[in-house]
């Protein structure tokens, strides 16, 4: 039986840079996009023999390279399992019937739209190129073209965001045919425009309330909060992203893409030119002995399913008592404890760093 692996492809092209984003991307250029795509195929071919059951095109703005992505998917088709989940991140304002139709034909069966907000003034403040109407249209195009698994991102803690505007966004989002919603808290990263020119953000207590409001609201609309930042309708969890939290292996291709493969975590340098000019991408190891207890606790507690005591015992020789002892330092409302399992409540998720710190304090 062949082991299957995830495939992440980082598509480092954007029309313009959003002021909050610190992911690697360069200005879109057709020629370089073609060179890039060719190199992606070369790199994937290097892994010949591996079967990918999830493929994820992240970015950047992958949909800008719809043609090239179709090419890539055609070239690597033999590498992908029959029911493989193939996700593409898309920017609503670049989405049209034509590219969605091609991508669908090439195998894309899941699209993640960077919607971020249903309020146009908030979108503007975030430097997004689309408005709420365009996002609505983009989702419907995907849906009408037969892509039934659609995710939308929302951001909380935006400048001038209020509980009312957030409620509006949530209503707007849940009226769309979405099966999955990712919710991120805006964080100012040092090497971004916002990092250098920080806007006024709602304070932590307000953001906390926003976060709880999102969870509550989405729960009522039938979404399950299966991971810190992710909500889905039953059965629509992101199979690819779950690999990250399940400590399963994935191969990352493209500048700035991260991999966990053959027992090591590594990434490809943030340098498109170098990626294009190298026969195979150069990687840098970030962790040569992953899979330790701390990492496991950190990843498992991001998930609704939480820590399985039997797994802790079997994999790390750490028994339930270890956790019970440490839980004394943690208020009961933050976690949910059963005979076999420990997971975090909504409030617990919000302070998960502190909780993880206590639980991994040996």
């Amino acid at each position: 039986m062949n082991k299957t692996t995830g495939l992440y492809i980082h598509v480092p092209f954007c029309k313009s840079k959003c002021p909050y984003c610190d992911f690697y991307s360069v200005r879109y250029d057709k020629k370089r996009a073609m060179e890039y795509a060719k190199k992606v195929i070369d790199n994937i071919r290097f892994y010949e023999g591996i079967k990918f059951d999830t493929v994820y095109f992240g970015g950047g703005t992958p949909i800008l390279l719809a043609d090239e992505i179709c090419e890539i998917l055609t070239a690597i088709k033999p590498f992908i399992t029959d029911n493989g989940e193939i996700t593409l991140e898309a920017n609503p304002c670049v989405t049209d019937n034509y590219n969605i139709c091609s991508l669908k034909s090439a195998g894309v069966n899941r699209i993640s739209f960077g919607i971020q907000s249903g309020v146009d003034s908030e979108l503007k403040a975030l430097g997004r190129l689309h408005n709420s109407k365009q996002a609505e249209k983009a989702v419907n195009i995907a849906f009408d073209n037969g892509i039934k698994n659609i995710s939308g991102d929302i951001m909380i803690g935006l400048p001038n965001q209020t509980k009312e505007s957030l409620s509006y966004t949530l209503d707007y989002m849940t009226d769309l045919p979405l099966t999955h919603i990712s919710s991120y808290i805006l964080k100012l990263e040092p090497d971004t425009y916002f990092g250098k020119n920080p806007p006024t953000l709602p304070d932590d207590d307000i953001v906390t309330d926003f976060y709880l409001h999102v969870s509550d609201c989405l729960y009522k609309k039938g979404f399950s909060h299966y991971e810190i930042s992710n909500y889905s309708k039953p059965g629509y969890e992101s199979k690819h992203n779950l690999k990250y939290w399940h400590c399963e292996e994935y191969i990352g291709i493209g500048p700035a893409a991260h991999s966990y493969y053959n027992g090591k975590r590594f990434f490809c340098d943030r340098d498109l030119d170098d990626f294009i000019s190298s026969p195979l991408q150069k990687t840098i190891i970030t962790d040569d002995s992953p899979g330790g207890f701390d990492e496991w606790v950190m990843l498992r507690l991001r998930l609704k399913e939480g820590i399985d005591f039997l797994a802790a015992e079997n994999n790390f020789g750490i028994d339930k008592e270890f956790f019970i002892k440490r839980l004394k330092k943690i208020p009961g409302e933050l976690y949910c404890l059963t005979d076999n399992n420990l997971s975090l409540t909504e409030k617990g998720i919000l302070v998960s760093n502190a909780v993880i710190g206590i639980l991994t304090d040996i």
Partner: protein, 604 residues
């Protein structure tokens, strides 16, 4: 009758200056002017040497240097330049250094005029009958106004400044004039080399090879290699192994030191405690009738607990304190234990600056990360059973039910200030429970105020408060005068219901409430939110008098998509764990080191 002609060629002097007014630059120039006369090519080397020493901080202790100056009259003069520390904590040391001199150069910045800090030392110098030679520095600055500064010197200090050399130590302008004035105005020392030996100890330091090196000014008599000497205050006796002069680069041995001369003595002395500043060295075989006046046994006045941030560094801390004590007899320490902070030392200091210097040296030179408790003074407690105890650690303060009388140390403080700030100062002293004694006009617009103040009101931040209320113009010094009964209470701080011993302190009951509120607020600002709500309480004798709450943490999450970059998440958590190591676990509460420091700075 011995030949006393040699005395005429000696000039013993110090330099008094406000910080940044150019003391060390002028010292460098004087060095140049003297050494370079003979050997020009030595110049660079000497200065390099000095700089190196300064970097290593050796000059902090190398407090005297001997130089030869060829004057315009053709004669060679011996200049003994003696450095003085410049803070009220070291007032006594300053007075002893001054006592080793016949004169002082007063440097005044031509653009800033006289600053308060120099005044106290200038007054001390005048009190000791030193000839003060004013020098106006930094005349190269565009903002220099030397004529007005001269006038200021004459009216404020009351010494003639007509002939004060206008110099730029930085540019080397008019240094020669300073040298000539030293020869002309500073009197030659007096003394009789045939009398019984009386040598004043004005400094000492520990040398790993020679033992304690004592810096002395011989007032009377002569000391020679091989002599058996006696320290008159401590009674300790030693045989002189080596003596000589402090050269610009190194010690220069000699056969004898005569009355009027400044030099060093090495006598295989193991403990610096035997060589107290201000003590008189005499000969065991032919002792002087009485010691030189002015000796005081200097006792530590301020105590605080010093703990290693990392408990494993306890041994390192002990070693570092032992090494510092070799050079600093006024530093005391003994082991103590705190429930909150673990193993550490209760250390005694001359004052707050001394405490800060020691802490800084421990951290910088010995690379130690420290937690320091609030400084405390010594309280004298008479118990109901008649027993008298001295308490330097609030934790050991007896239960009020067994206290008959509680007494606190009182100081006589002399405050010098331009008269316009008298109101502000009186207000400050009032706040600090001071008792007004009297006020003297020194000049038209300068006054000296005398107050009795409780020491525990001035140990923290009196100096800073005084400066800030007088635009930096007032200065003060003090002398402990004894104990007086006082309404003292022990204030305890509770975190999550548990007393944190390291945060307890003694306070006058009238001030307990305000103090408690302030500390609780400070702690609230400095204790990060934790998973549980943390009540902060301040209590006197079990009664809660202030309360604050650190609300429970609500948000500490990485809810951002980093793709598959698990390593980044892991690193963020590792960093968080590192941060936690800098926290003290007090019961269920994590307290950052800064919180202990923050309660020290209540007036911010």
């Amino acid at each position: 009758m011995a030949d006393k002609e040699y005395l005429n060629e000696i000039r013993n002097f110090c330099i008094i200056a406000h910080i940044d007014h150019g003391k060390s630059t002028l010292a460098d120039r004087i060095l140049e002017q003297t050494e370079t006369v003979a050997q020009r090519e030595m110049e660079e080397q000497i200065l390099d040497n000095m700089e190196l020493e300064r970097e290593r901080g050796i000059t902090i202790k190398a407090r005297a240097v001997r130089l030869i100056y060829k004057a315009d009259n053709g004669k060679d003069y011996i200049f003994n330049l003696i450095d003085t520390p410049g803070h009220v904590d070291f007032n006594y040391e300053v007075s002893r250094s001054l006592n080793a001199c016949e004169g002082a150069i007063l440097i005044v910045d031509a653009s800033q005029g006289i600053e308060a800090q120099t005044l106290a030392n200038t007054y001390l110098a005048i009190e000791q009958d030193l000839e003060v030679v004013p020098v106006i520095n930094k005349i190269d600055l565009p903002s220099a106004h030397p004529e007005e500064v001269k006038e200021e010197i004459e009216t404020v200090i009351g010494i003639p400044a007509d002939e004060a050399p206008l110099i730029s130590a930085k540019m080397g302008t008019n240094i020669k004039e300073v040298m000539e004035q030293i020869v002309k105005y500073i009197p030659a020392p007096k003394g009789n080399p045939d009398d019984n030996l009386k040598a004043l100890i004005f400094d000492s330091y520990y040398d790993a090879y020679k033992g304690v090196i004592v810096y002395v000014r011989v007032k009377e008599g002569t000391v020679r290699v091989g002599d058996r000497i006696r320290m008159m205050a401590t009674g300790a006796e030693f045989d002189v192994v080596e003596l000589g002069y402090m050269g610009a680069k190194n010690l220069e041995t000699a056969k004898e030191l005569r009355a009027g001369e400044v030099g060093y003595i090495a006598a295989s002395i193991k403990s610096i405690g035997d060589t107290k500043v201000g003590d008189t060295v005499t000969l065991a075989t032919a002792p002087a009738d009485e010691p030189l006046p002015g000796y005081r046994n200097v006792n530590p006045m301020v105590f605080s607990g010093i703990y290693p941030a990392d408990g494993a560094k306890y041994g390192d801390l002990r070693e570092a304190l032992e090494k510092l004590q070799l050079n600093d007899a006024s530093l005391t320490f003994e082991p103590e234990t705190s429930i909150a902070l673990g193993f550490g030392f209760r250390c005694g200091f001359l004052g707050l600056l001394h405490m800060e210097i020691i802490q800084e040296r421990l951290e910088r030179e010995y690379n130690l990360d420290l937690i320091t408790t609030a400084p405390s003074v010594v309280y004298k407690i008479t118990k109901t059973d008649g027993e008298v105890v001295y308490i330097d650690n609030p934790t050991n303060y007896p239960d009020p039910s067994v206290i008959e009388v509680a007494e606190e140390p009182i100081v006589k403080a002399n405050i010098y200030t331009p008269s316009e700030y008298v109101g502000n100062i009186m207000e400050l002293c009032q706040e600090r429970r001071g008792t007004f004694k009297d006020m003297k006009y020194l000049e038209m617009n300068r006054v000296e105020l005398h107050y009795d103040l409780p020491l525990n009101e001035i140990v923290y931040d009196f100096f800073d408060a005084l400066k800030s209320r007088t635009k930096g113009y007032a200065s003060y010094d003090y002398e402990v005068s004894g104990f007086v009964p006082s309404k003292l209470v022990k204030l305890d701080i509770l975190l999550n219901g548990d007393i944190v011993d390291a945060l307890s302190f003694i306070v006058h009951s009238d001030k307990a409430y305000a103090r408690a509120r302030k500390i609780a607020e400070k702690l609230k600002d400095n204790i990060p939110r934790q998973l549980f709500e943390v009540p902060i309480q301040a209590a006197v004798g079990g009664k809660i008098i202030a309360r604050e709450t650190v609300k429970a943490m609500r948000k500490d999450v990485l809810a951002k998509c980093y793709g598959g970059d698990i390593t980044r998440k892991k690193k963020l958590l590792e960093k968080q764990k590192e941060g936690k190591k800098r926290m003290r676990q007090l019961g269920s509460v994590e307290v950052p080191q800064e919180a202990f420091m923050a309660v020290l700075k209540l007036d911010e």
